[in-house]
Homo-oligomer: 344 residues x 2
DNA sequence: ATTAGCACTCTCCTGTTGAGAGTGCTAATT
DNA sequence: AATTAGCACTCTCAACAGGAGAGTGCTAAT
């Protein structure tokens, strides 16, 4: 009911449509892909494939177009992930130009998404490491004007975060040192999420409320940890505008709305980093469940710190996407970032 | 040759066109603006205005449309800058929601541009303070893993900047303290630009080369100052897409290209902050000289630190822009940011 | 100086038509 | 039994023509 020949036809149709967004007809297939079959036979096969839900017709007497289910089958069973020439060039550029940026993860991610979108012609996206699971190493407090404290937080993973915190009391540098060393002894080795919940729990305890030093320390620490966790990077909008899929204003509005709603994309990418699979993952069109992302696919992977995935990176593009090329690229990028983070 | 009546007609045409992007005809003017003249007379006046270069016709037998020169005259002499209801709402939202963000200038600017674009329906843009003219107050160096130093730079203006610097030598925290105190004594009170040039000059001097402490100090300091200076914030792309001016794909591509070329916009805004005028400034369409910004106008102003302008904020939109409203908004915003920076 | 009247121009919408591409079905062929 | 040739049918798209609508410029009258 679904033999080798059917697969070949489906594959040909998907590939042809990816190359060029015109519905593909039976005659075109016979000519271009040199099947030893007539167009009439292809028509029969296509009709079967349509009934099985892999293809659909935009209208009677147009050719066929893959459905999301069709793409899914293509990605899972048909497309080869072999590296192409393009990808080698991509790999070279990435490693050559970006390897030196290792101190500022945000710059690294932003530059990487830029290259990713340049080479793929889709939207490059990345989520910066979730600091929640990072491990507290130490904190330094520096006096800055009256009522302002500069905090510098170090994690075991090498993350450094600073923030200016308002305090409603005037403190000397000596006070700050005492507060810092309290925090350091108290929280060393915990991960930041645990510290956050620990603080909430302890806030109400009496011993905290009585001791001004401790209560001040806790308050400062809470401020530091309240910072937004995941930064998102998106780039390549003008790349996407060049695609024929976006020759229509409505389509453009759609994707730009999706882009501005960074919240949703963050959630989406978060899912990737939670499901700690090792491979590149693909979400196609309506599999996505998110309204406003109907016509788009996402190819993403996580990058890791040690063996723990801490963030994700990927590509958003139309469902009519060059999956094999894109998957290979995302694979390269995620591994590259992992490598850089771990300091080689 | 250009009397009161001509002005009134020009004003009516510009306003009508701003409301609604249809070429405006003579009959429409007489009906809508209740001139005590017939459409024929209006036609004569319009013909004169066209000859003077304030109006043009998209094609014979369409109505008239303002030229850049027409907008310029409107902005300089005709439009009233009175506050409208909208602006008060805008002012309230800005002050209520953003006054508390004063420690992180970048967050402040990014949030402000968001509101600005929301209310204006154009692109909100802002340039973060040029740190070059800020005054060195002190620097703190903290050890971070081997070969990495976290630097925290304080300026008199309250700016705090941190950066992780690679060093090719291993140092104890005590060494770092000595280096920091050398830098502090050496550079206290200078502005960052001067320090940068000073470093370049001194790098070659012998005494520097001999003394390892000093040479290391200088090297670290150079790294710190090499950071990118002006950050740019742009927001509101999806706002802009809703405007009838961008119902055409080509137009959308144009503005998105202009947006991606952040370099150019930075240059442009830089000009604003240099020409230290106190008012909101307007650049209309081709006055801009920048290719790729032909159909766009820029309304911008500087925000200040003391009396010195340090950055700029504004709006980019189609030449067919509601100038009086936008100018009022940019005025509010620039004054608001100035106020917040100076800590009220 | 102003205006009514009119011929003219240009856009935009609508309907028509014909070419082209592709399908599904049936009957013939292998 | 699978494949294919042939054909009628459907749908899109581009080109074209006509007509309504809006606006102008000019001239002659007020």
């Amino acid at each position: 009911m679904f033999d080798e020949r059917d697969r070949e036809v489906l594959c040909a149709i998907v590939q042809s449509y990816i190359n060029n967004p015109d519905p593909v007809g039976s005659r075109f297939i016979t000519r271009k892909y040199a099947f030893s079959l007539s167009s009439a036979s292809i028509r029969n096969i296509m009709s079967d494939l349509e009934e099985m839900g892999f293809l659909r017709q935009p209208h009677t007497s147009a050719g066929r177009v893959p459905t999301d289910k069709g793409y899914r089958f293509y990605v899972d069973y048909l497309c080869s992930h072999e590296q192409q020439y393009d990808n080698r060039a991509f790999f070279n550029e990435i490693t050559r130009e970006l390897e030196s940026i290792k101190n500022d993860i945000d710059v690294l991610l932003s530059e990487t998404t830029k290259r990713l979108s340049n080479f793929s012609h889709y939207l490059g996206v990345a989520l910066s490491p979730k600091s929640g699971s990072a491990t507290f190493n130490r904190i330094t407090l520096l006096k800055h004007r009256r009522n302002h404290v500069v905090t510098v937080l170090f994690t075991d993973e090498g993350l450094v975060r600073n923030k200016v915190v308002d305090v409603d009391f005037d403190l000397t540098q000596r006070d700050l040192n005492r507060i810092a060393s309290y925090l350091n002894s108290e929280f060393y080795g915990y991960n930041l999420n645990d510290i956050r919940t620990k603080i909430v729990r302890e806030m109400s305890e009496e011993k905290i409320l009585c001791d001004t030093l401790i209560s001040r320390a806790i308050r400062i620490c809470r401020e530091v940890l309240s910072s937004p966790s995941g930064n998102i990077f998106i780039s390549g909008f003008s790349e996407v505008l060049g695609l024929p899929d976006f020759s229509d204003v409505e389509k453009i509005k759609e994707i730009s709305r999706a882009m501005e709603d960074k919240h949703l994309i963050i959630k989406l990418l978060d899912k990737f980093s939670e499901s700690a699979k090792d491979e590149v993952q693909v979400i196609i069109g309506s599999e996505n469940s998110l309204a406003g992302m109907k016509g788009f696919s996402i190819v993403a992977a996580t990058y890791k710190e040690g063996s723990r995935p801490v963030g994700s990176v990927g590509v958003i593009g139309p469902t009519r996407m060059d999956y094999s090329k894109t998957i290979a690229m995302v694979d390269i990028v995620s591994k590259f970032i992992t490598k850089v983070i771990e300091g080689k």
